[in-house]
Symmetry: C2
Subunit: 312 residues, 2 copies
């Protein structure tokens, strides 16, 4: 089951060195989730061959422009391309006014519905819950109300062994119960323990997105054991004071969070325009947390306990 | 005296084939004027090495997003880069609300002043008049109130011949009068005609920008004799009906305007995403008006009677 994230934009607020503002595509078995939508996101989707017709959910972390200035352009392109199915947008309440103001003045009548889900940054909340996954918010600490997002795969069913179905002549109608852990009683009244019939499902996978935030341990417990964590790392240690003033994190702080939360792997991003070369950030993070990767644009990261790093 | 326009974005509303929404930089002796500001304009400026510190005037033709969705991002980058000098923005009145709504919700306090000049699309008006040039609006005919812009160089002074200054011992204080056309009386009371002392200045140059509009002859007189005309040509003849329905022009219609207005040269742009290959548009325009060029991104066109086409 495909579960991977592609980096569309990796930079902080000022675009530089052909790095673009924040934007990521999460792909869960072909269903796409857009996380933040900085200016130019639709161009980045084109560049990396993202099929935007499969995008039904957009999550905006906060209202600094480098996290949403590409949204109304993307919605406009959806409309011009005759999208008809509804689109869900999750973001700060005022985002709705921002969208509506622009559509009002362009006399735009959308051909599709937007289901706007206002997201408050007060406490963590489940904002999406479907058969495949849940999405919950993380309360970050930034200059504006800001949330991160955790995408958790639903617990999988146990996997029934095909040869056991044949061996015990298990009828179709009890298969689902067995996948859910039930034992089986055969036609002779013999009880077969579930353990003999099934193997445990793979552990549900999870991805957490934390941008933008000052260093805080307030969400450590919530992201404990996450498979893949994206955490902002705007600055190097040299600029730790600047990070603090602007409510951002350093690469080493991102690594400390990853280590303390015992996550499997860490992607760092939201790089300041002052760094032409990002190796200093990678080094500083790896000193604390070796399994760190740079959010390079076009890279796709599989969310898996056996991680795979792919170049798009 | 440098007077040239660089194409940053050439496409219609849906970005395609690595073509971007409308945006152009006019450079008059190092002073930059931005004409429309589609999404990603700031990236395009970076790509083509445009020094945005020299940009003091931004003109927005209308409130379809492909003509202004890059504006608030550009303003944000100015702010983050510590711009301090004022910026003039000329555009539809509601643009001010659109800008302010976004800055309000990001709690942005700009470090520089924006002088917002609301532009109505009812009659042509001079909206900028300085020592070097005037900018006047053209009333276009589109689905929203829309204006084009004409940039006219001020009439130059006559050029005084250095050898005549020496020959007739012309004192410094009358030089300016002579440049303005006055004759000169020397110390012996002899009248020297201005014609002998000066040569005529070059003809003032002009650039007109017409996007977006349905075919209309209403502004023909206003753009008569323009050196360089940019006119939208969203569609080929095959889609003339679609052009009409959407209040856009075909390449042939743009060429007819250029021909009837006796302009020197024509750039066509605002291409529909349906054309991967633009040669059909160029051919259809050149059939009517041979001096047509495509608004290819990165191209710089000198505004001059001896036109120069440069690749950036």
């Amino acid at each position: 089951m495909q579960f991977e994230v592609t980096i569309l934009g990796s930079n902080g607020a000022i675009p530089a060195y052909d790095r673009h503002p924040s934007s990521q595509i999460l792909n869960y078995c072909g269903n796409l989730f857009l996380i933040d939508c900085g200016e130019g996101t639709q161009f980045r989707m084109n560049k990396f061959g993202i099929k935007r017709g499969h995008l039904d959910h957009i999550f905006i972390s906060h209202l600094h422009g480098d996290h949403y200035f590409g949204l109304v352009g993307l919605l406009t392109s959806f409309n011009l391309n005759w999208r008809e199915h509804p689109l869900n947008i999750y973001g700060p309440p005022a985002l709705e006014e921002i969208i509506n103001t622009q559509f009002k003045h362009s006399l735009t009548k959308l051909k599709f519905e937007i289901h706007f889900h206002p997201v408050l940054a007060d406490i963590p909340r489940i904002i999406l819950d479907n058969s495949q996954m849940t999405v919950e918010t993380i309360v970050l600490k930034h200059r504006l109300p800001t949330t991160g997002f955790i995408f958790r795969e639903k617990k999988n069913l146990r996997k029934i062994l095909p040869e056991k179905i044949q061996q015990y002549a298990i009828p179709f109608e009890v298969i689902n119960d067995i996948k859910n852990g039930a034992d089986f009683t055969d036609e002779n009244g013999r009880l077969i323990a579930n353990d003999e019939l099934t193997i445990a499902p793979p552990k549900p996978r999870s991805y957490a997105y934390c941008s933008d935030t000052i260093y805080t341990e307030s969400y450590l417990e919530q992201i404990n054991g996450i498979d893949l964590l994206y955490h902002e790392a705007t600055f190097s240690e040299e600029h730790a004071e600047r990070a603090n003033e602007t409510f951002h994190s350093t690469a080493r702080q991102a690594a400390s969070i990853a280590k303390a939360a015992k996550v499997e792997r860490l992607i760092i991003g939201h790089f300041s325009a002052r760094y032409a070369d990002l190796s200093i950030l990678l080094e500083q993070s790896r000193t604390v947390f070796p399994e760190t990767y740079l959010a390079e644009e076009g890279n796709t990261f599989a969310i898996d306990s056996e991680v795979l790093l792919q170049k798009a």
